[in-house]
Subunit: 354 residues, 2 copies
Amino acid sequence: MKRNILIIPGDGIGQEVTTWGKQVLESIAQKYNHEFVFDEAIMGHTAIEATGDPLPQETLEKAKASDAILFGAIGHAKYDNDPSAKVRPEQGLLKIRKELGLYANLRPILLFDELLDASSLKPEVLRGTDILFFRELTGDVYFGEKKRNEDNTFASDLMNYHRYEVERIARKAYEAARTRSKKLCSVDKANVLETSRLWREVVQEIAAEYPDVETEHMFIDNAAMQLVKNPKKFDVVLTANLFGDILTDEASQIAGSMGMLASASIGDGTGFFEPIHGSAHDIAGQNKANPLASILSVALMLDIAFGLQDEAKAVTSAVADTLKAGWRTGDIANSSTPQDKILGTNEMGQKVLE
Amino acid sequence: MKRNILIIPGDGIGQEVTTWGKQVLESIAQKYNHEFVFDEAIMGHTAIEATGDPLPQETLEKAKASDAILFGAIGHAKYDNDPSAKVRPEQGLLKIRKELGLYANLRPILLFDELLDASSLKPEVLRGTDILFFRELTGDVYFGEKKRNEDNTFASDLMNYHRYEVERIARKAYEAARTRSKKLCSVDKANVLETSRLWREVVQEIAAEYPDVETEHMFIDNAAMQLVKNPKKFDVVLTANLFGDILTDEASQIAGSMGMLASASIGDGTGFFEPIHGSAHDIAGQNKANPLASILSVALMLDIAFGLQDEAKAVTSAVADTLKAGWRTGDIANSSTPQDKILGTNEMGQKVLE
Ligand SMILES: CC(C)[C@H](C(=O)O)[C@@H](O)C(=O)O
Ligand SMILES: CC(C)[C@H](C(=O)O)[C@@H](O)C(=O)O
């Protein structure tokens, strides 16, 4: 199989972790006799520094022309401390999501037995947890009209959904639920928000098309609570952009660390694969970042974008074996991890490759 | 001291739990020689059934005329399953918050040592946690304009903040931070939302007035994650209405159960005291609800509304002693709790009174 893969390292630790994602892709190509052709492009703070634009036209064109994209991370403390900055790294990510029509963000919460102890949650609460989030990614308050009045006394963002936006992601989530344990939980705030009431109505309608799937509706505040209390009760979780952003970061603690979570953004065209962690500028360039989320994003790419299930499994197994052998990066180590088992980014990437 | 207290039981378990809040108030009055005059009023589903209006005028007038309000809970499954219902219980709660100008919702995450084991989080992660949330309560996407187009293909809610709304709650939070460990974390989504950028700018300005308080700004997704990972790192948390709704429910798992968390809503006039738990219709009328959150709301009322610190401490100590003696309601029991130590609502209320 021949495929064109665009690597967008982005900001902070993005460069370090995508390096390993790419190496894993190269090793898979060799072993399974595929031809992966790589190209690279800039986005975010890195792109602002180079061109003034967080998503240069060239990056967007390369993205559209590729078969899949491996992305690193975005963001820089500079902008976080300056809320009045007009040009911001995150605009690049939001724009590429919109331009590529990446309306469904899949975030599997994959729990490796070896990491049961790395979590702040009790192992007996965690054991057996297996959640697949469907986060809507191109609508909601993320993309609604933003206003600020001239004397800076008022600001607003329009939270909104169109019926078709809810329908298409709901269908994707129900299809997935069918192949899993046939349980779907839709999360909203329908007791307060009109957007959520429309969301709930549409999900109720789509639910009727999937009578074999058991549907539950839950308020976001309750869901944020239940996810800590009893994560096992969730299987497929379907939710809006903002609520999905919050819940999946929270759920990263189930997997032991943000450094373990991969995500796939899909929609109308090219798929986009990225860790859910951020740019982590505090540890960037120090060989400390966990490359496993980027490597697991590669597994999602192989599976979802290329339909290469065996290859995807080989990657996930390599990660599992590395963990089984006791190797850890700092974020997934705990007080009982021997010092000589704690690796840097590169050493961890190397172990998985082997 | 003479005070007029309005009891609004609301829906579901509200009646059962406020009964015990009231009895504790009566016992405090007797012991400390105060005169508490009680009145009662309806709100929510209960009020819709009786009058068609979730917040009848009479309730609002009584509320404005009282010195403090003890509220139970609101909501009913009937409306949750019918997103198109025009009249909804929650409108009563939102309206009274707005009408009484209750812009600051204080939610202390009080951790009783005895309940360390009731949580899904590891005791070593929890021990020493003491968080005070300041949730803005009368602005944000809760109160912005709601729209639905006629053919039901689109819905929206306006997320918005005025500068003065951020200023006044920020000042309250900073004042509280001064009396605690002088650390404040403001939570927003300034990398995406204009509302959050205004929020962050204003908090930065107010922060300059409190140079003795250390300020941190955190994105909501990160905060939802950190709260599970390392709750001890938080002290005063300041956030907007929607984010506060989500984070405080999530944080309830730190305290072992939603059934333990009290809140105080304050602002321009009469204060409003309520558990953060909901109406829990599934267990209503079964003598199963945990009355401790209502009783702890009474402690907040005595402290914040009446300035009666000793009386407030007496209530909190009574709760602590009851837990120390091993008594539990179902929600805070765990597998090692002896069956004969698990009490119903009334028995638990009685133990605290004693
Ligand atoms: C960087 C930011 C804009 C982004 C989001 O909020 O969507 C990130 O948190 C994510 O979850 O991918
Ligand atoms: C019942 C609901 C409207 C309310 C809210 O969202 O504010 C509740 O969840 C709360 O936290 O008090």
